[in-house]
Symmetry: C3
Subunit: 272 residues, 3 copies
């Protein structure tokens, strides 16, 4: 019966990359009893913002003691630090390069430590692969119960990405009854071609959801915010709040990405 | 020593999808001792027939008590039901949308239950992701030994896809000595470009296999049914019964898909 | 607490292939306690040299008792043998078709056995999938402690690929002070578009690394060999010794593959 916290891996190495396998080998060499779960290795290369969103979305589905290792590290070998960060619902080992932005936007870390003590690293560290030589063995030691304070020096300052959440709710002439408008963008396209936006369920708390609401994506428009794809007939453009609590646009039984010809970065506006 | 039945995952989410990781997180949050094995996340989006074939092919390689979770679910959020189905050689949790067709063609399920009891689901169920919020935790509970009868109401009716097996063996003028003909199609292309058909070893039981047999695929023709690729020289079109007991067409040491320019749906005929 | 050696899988089946899942099912059917780790299923189809390099690179990151199963097997069904080979730092089960070349270049195997005893195979062996029907169950038995000598007959001869290491260090007129030149080629492109060559750290032991060194790749040239990407500004072509101890060429913060328009096979020369 394993009582180890799970270790997850999120990287931009690509599915089937042997760099991922090397990390797993190092973890299992350090701790044969480790349980390693792949979150994704399909983060677009060096896309810290994408990984930061993925991390914040994923942690809620894992036990709180899970150790999430995130290696999207364009600054590897520079003086950027590697952090251990502890949140109420997860623990993370990653470069301090903005990857923790979305998690920290939600809740402050209760502990941060700069990973500096080579006692828990591989004996030889390649300057271009700290994921394998530093983060993997550190995660394995943490999973075995190592006290995080032994990893290095406490830290309080976090590198944060500039805000990439939806622009705040813009009230235009509410007093005159003109209504509200929220502007955001498509941040991700899933395997079905659904367009995931950065407009959250919370931002839409006051939105009636009925046909008085207009949702625009690029040049395309639809009315109403529905509950599920099956609420509308095939080939219809539908807006709904998806399983990650984000507004998404979908073509029922088809790909919105292909049918609308839009992708990440496309502007999205909700008005009512 | 784990004595849990294995849980497998088959979806159309794409390799590296964080939706898959969320399902694993939910399973491991419910049961830290679960063993999860990926079958494939490369089912073409919403292709129930493809997933049904994959499922029927895969289960034989796993222990009979294994719980196979299949999430190809275009009707998520509609009134389609989610089933627990028990066969002599496997157990399955999936939407009742045709995914069990090929398994049930082979052998009747000995038990079917509609999954209705929210006690074994996540507390909050997103209308667009029952794989994560219902099927994953149910599989984890089953793996821990939950009695399937507690999941909901017994069912006897299964949604089935219209037949997509090879058309039955067409005997044309056997009395006049004209011989037999079997017509089917390419249903899958593997990573080597081999063309996998829906003509089974059983259908070919009376086929002599020698050069009196003609195999046609689209406009291309070859004679004889061989045992393995190495039976013929490089760059030759060869027909053989593959490792899934299905007739396949291959170009020795090359890609039949590219060389013949055909893919899924191409007509295949065997005549002797 | 599992005390089994890990089993790794390396194939050319493609990520998400159900052939991989079948192998995992067979391993876990033979030994429920097995731990299976994917190295890569993205080996280019039938590319034995690529797999041989990957294997030699990967084993060092895993515990020495690990059993690496490698299925890149264009000769499946021919009279090529399947080997169990034991090296000081790993154990391998694979076809004897050259896959062990790079491992054996480094160090002689201390034991080789032809896998001939069907007692440890699946009862029925498909002539086109020995990975599933022979190698997978053999690996599971070995992981459980089976003595390798029971698998078949001892062997001493290994099939080797023709040398594909960098051409040896060519000294041109060193006496006249003209310097040294090493010629190799790009053997792999990683997910970042970095060009990995077959020129090793050892070959460069005498190379000063400073601006007196010229590195040429196809028509492109750069000077100096750096330690990490961060040593040079964005969009610069940089040569460095990567995390696998191989010379690589990278464009800082971009893809050398795309920016230079070169891939595997491109000639690389280092001169000083």
């Amino acid at each position: 019966m394993s009582d180890r916290p799970i270790i997850t891996l999120t990287t931009d190495f690509g599915e089937g990359s042997r760099y991922v396998a090397a990390m797993k080998g190092v973890i299992l060499s350090t701790d044969r009893q480790a349980t390693v779960v792949d979150v994704s290795h399909s983060i677009p290369p060096q896309d810290i913002a994408h990984a930061a969103r993925t991390l914040a979305e994923m942690v809620r589905w894992f036990p709180a003691e899970t150790i999430h290792v995130v290696v999207v590290d364009p600054g590897v070998g520079s003086d950027r630090e590697i952090f251990y960060a502890e949140f109420p619902d997860c623990r993370v080992v990653c470069p301090n390069n903005g990857l923790l932005t979305n998690l920290a936007d939600r809740e402050n870390p209760r502990k941060m430590v700069a990973i500096e003590n080579p006692a828990y690293w591989l004996p030889r560290v390649a300057p271009t692969f700290h994921g394998r030589d530093i983060m993997a063995p550190v995660a394995a030691h943490l999973s075995q119960g190592l006290l995080p304070d032994l990893l290095g020096t406490p830290r309080t300052e976090l590198v944060r990405l500039t805000p990439h959440a939806a622009s705040a709710c813009v009230t235009t002439g509410k007093e005159q009854g003109v209504g509200q408008k929220i502007e955001g963008e498509v941040v991700e396209v899933d395997s079905f071609g659904n367009l995931i936006t950065n407009i959250t369920r919370d931002m839409l708390a006051d939105c009636p959801g009925d046909t008085s609401v207009t949702v625009r994506c690029d040049e395309h428009e639809t009315v109403g915010i529905f509950t599920t794809y099956a609420d509308q007939p095939p080939m219809t453009l539908v807006a709904l709040i998806g399983s990650s609590d984000l507004l998404e646009l979908a073509i029922v039984d088809d790909s919105a990405k292909i049918m609308l010809g839009v992708g990440a970065g496309a502007p999205v506006a909700v008005a009512w």
